[in-house]
């Protein structure tokens, strides 16, 4: 199959871009920038997982991607909830 090579290339590209998104996590001037970096990186990783499962042609592998989708959302929700509580108390970030 010739699409395997294309899938591989896109996979490498997505890994590189998720590494680049780390810039916002590390040097983001404000807190929402850091959260944005996490959001972007988790979306890219989701795409990589789906690409690999499609390359191996095993549908049970896609469970991992679905679980990852759910848990990235819950993680971001927990982080913002924590920040909102801390901000209401008047602490700094």
């Amino acid at each position: 199959m010739t699409t395997t090579l294309a899938f591989d290339t896109i996979g490498y590209l997505f890994i590189a871009s998720s590494v680049v998104a780390l810039y916002r996590v590390l040097w983001g001037p404000t807190v929402p920038d850091r959260l944005l970096g996490l959001n972007v990186a988790s979306a890219q990783i989701l795409a990589i997982l789906v690409l690999y499962a499609a390359k191996e042609k095993l549908h049970v592998y896609l469970d991992v991607a679905l679980v990852y989708d759910i848990f990235g959302f819950v993680g971001i929700l927990a982080l913002t909830k924590f920040l909102e509580k801390r901000q209401r108390r008047g602490g700094s970030v």
Binding site: T2, T3, I10, V20, A21, V31, P32, L36, N39, L77
Partner: protein, 109 residues
């Protein structure tokens, strides 16, 4: 035929991904960066899903990827909304163009 469409969607994914990254790196404030991520990066990921669905044809993979796509359709904008709402409640002022923009000339009512 179908392979051509798959390649087209993968190309679209690559372009949108790179441009979204450029937007995330270059834009001036959190709201505009969120715009870049929530349109361009989401479109890139969904293009990948569409390409995978077209490549797999009618099989169990397509059903699973369909579920993931529907989940992503909900979870990505809601995640962007949560972050934007946090920034808005925190009191971050949106960036505005400094020089006198052409907006003042537009019809106000």
């Amino acid at each position: 035929m179908i392979e051509g469409i798959v390649y087209l969607f993968l190309l679209l994914a690559a372009i949108f991904n790179l441009m979204g990254l450029v937007g995330i790196l270059l834009f001036p404030d959190p709201y505009t960066r969120l715009q870049a991520s929530s349109t361009c990066s989401t479109t890139a990921v969904i293009s990948v899903f569409i390409a995978v669905m077209l490549e797999a044809g009618f099989s169990a993979i397509t059903g699973k990827v369909l579920v993931i796509t529907l989940f992503f359709f909900i979870s990505s904008p809601v995640g962007a909304h949560i972050i934007a709402r946090y920034a808005w409640n925190m009191g971050i002022v949106p960036w505005r163009k400094l020089r006198k923009s052409s907006l003042e000339d537009l019809p106000h009512d």
